[in-house]
């Protein structure tokens, strides 16, 4: 009878081991592998024949293998747990040398005559890959939104570059005319030429600055958080976003803030949020032909910085209020409707929030971006 029961439970155990999706290993107190299931063969590349009887260091990268004897020893003598009963992410090594992440949980089996340890292992690569893919995808989306924001501004930019270019060409024409005058009719030619050249250079700088700002904004892809004074972030963003607003008769103003407001953020992403909000405000006013002002302000409330963009436009259309921050919500003919969705995810990634409300007085909308202050660097901002 006894024999029968043992056989039954052995068979059960064997079939359990073989069908388990996770790798299962049993080792004795010296680390010698006693049991090594089929999932382990797939996971590590060694057959059960090769593995059973070998030390478990076989499937560890050398850095772990060296420390493993020490861990075992200290657990057995002091009971100090590094992994037993806890479970954690560790590195494993395939027969072909590949090192890869696994989740490992270890149980301590105290048999009457000996100690054995049971390890259950799961390959973490698929999970990490999909996480990585998700992160990459989000990075790409954020970048795409940035490029498309600039794309929408293409015509405006051409217009804005046209002004300094026009001035440069006219200054050069004037220079030529001064220089071509017969010497006897010239007065003070040197000074006049110098003044015109100086003005020409200033206009070339103006054109260059527009291009530089644009390039900075579009090209930077990687996230790079730093302590920055939001006042700089805002003024850079508003410079770009308000291009062309004046020509539409829209007044874009930034309220002066006397003290630095420092947050630990990716300045380009926060710029992106602000540019979106300001462009949206300009679009709203321009399309409805109602309103004329966009006000941008920044203040501190408790441990938060609050940046607000408020306009006196027509307000948000009731039909889209509910899904304002959902992707592909747009009322614009050529709108993508991803600006606010991305802006909100950027805010949340920074531990902040983005919300919209009606303006207190009159028509119009206020968008509020709240970000946690960088309290450690509250008074010592670095460059934005």
């Amino acid at each position: 009878m006894d024999d029968d029961r043992i056989t039954t439970s052995d068979v059960r155990l064997a079939s359990l081991l073989e069908t388990a999706v996770d790798g299962i290993i049993i080792v004795d107190r010296s680390g010698t592998i006693l049991v090594y299931n089929a999932a382990c063969e797939r996971l590590f590349g060694y057959t059960a024949n090769e593995a059973v009887g070998a030390n478990v260091k076989l499937i560890m990268p050398s850095s772990y293998a060296d420390a493993h004897d020490g861990y075992m020893e200290s657990y057995l003598t002091t009971g100090e747990r590094k992994i037993i009963g806890i479970g954690r992410e560790v590195a494993a090594r395939h027969k072909d040398g590949t090192v890869f992440p696994i989740e490992l949980s270890v149980g301590d089996a105290r048999l009457p005559d000996q100690r054995q340890f049971i390890g259950i292992m799961r390959d973490l690569r698929p999970r990490m890959e999909s996480q990585q893919r998700l992160n990459d995808l989000q990075d790409q989306l954020v970048h795409m939104a940035r490029v498309s924001a600039m794309d929408e501004m293409g015509a405006t930019l051409a217009h804005e570059l046209n002004q300094p270019l026009t001035a440069i060409m006219l200054y050069l024409d004037a220079l030529k005319r001064v220089a071509e005058k017969p010497p006897e009719t010239r007065q003070d030619t040197g000074t006049v030429l110098g003044q015109i050249v100086e003005k020409t250079v200033r206009e070339a700088d103006r054109a260059g600055a527009i291009i530089r700002r644009l390039r900075q904004f579009v090209e930077r892809k990687e996230t790079d958080r730093q302590s920055v004074d939001l006042r700089h972030v805002i003024s850079d963003a508003v410079d770009l976003a308000s291009l062309g607003a004046r020509a539409l008769g829209i007044d874009v103003r930034v309220e002066k803030t006397p003290d630095p407001i420092v947050c630990f953020v990716d300045p380009i992403q926060i710029q992106q949020v602000m540019i979106n909000l300001v462009r949206n405000a300009i679009d709203a006013i321009g399309e409805a032909q109602c309103g004329q002002r966009v006000d941008i302000a920044c203040s501190v409330s408790g441990a938060e910085a609050i940046m607000s963009v408020s306009d006196d436009g027509p307000g948000i259309e009731p039909a889209i209020r509910e899904k304002l921050f959902k992707a592909f919500t747009t009322t614009k003919e050529s709108g993508l409707g991803i600006g606010l969705a991305i802006a909100q995810s950027i805010a949340q990634n920074h531990g902040g929030t983005l919300a919209a409300q009606d303006r207190d007085s009159g028509s119009g909308t206020v968008f509020e971006l709240r970000l946690p202050l960088d309290v450690d660097n509250a008074s010592g901002p670095q460059q934005a």
Binding site: P164, M169, L170, A174, V178, K199, E203
Partner: protein, 109 residues
């Protein structure tokens, strides 16, 4: 004859004035529409008008000029569809697209 430049971009207005002065013209600059409407005009004057002023529609300035019989040259960086919307029917030969060719400008004056 005086050339009146109505242009809100200060550098464009300044450079334009410089070229015109070198051509031998008397020049006045106005940075917005309101200031320009107060100016003295005579029928042999010329107006160089930027199409997109912050404070006034171009059409307002055009009708003001027409009342006084003063000729207008329009300068603009805007696209054709916007030009048609702002000043429908305006003689296309008297519109200069930015960047402006000074030779063309001289010919129109």
């Amino acid at each position: 004859m005086t050339v009146h430049i109505v242009e809100d971009d200060r550098a464009v207005a300044d450079s334009l004035a410089l070229v015109l002065a070198q051509m031998g013209h008397a020049v006045e600059i106005y940075n917005d529409g309101r200031t320009f409407l107060q100016a003295e005009l005579s029928s042999d004057d010329k107006i160089i008008l930027d199409l997109h002023l912050p404070d006034m529609a171009a059409a307002t300035i055009l009708s003001h000029a027409k009342d006084r019989g003063t000729g207008v040259i329009v300068i603009t960086a805007l696209g054709k569809s916007q030009i048609d919307r702002e000043i429908p029917g305006f003689d296309p030969d008297r519109i200069l697209r930015k960047p402006i060719d000074p030779q063309m400008l001289a010919r129109l004056l």
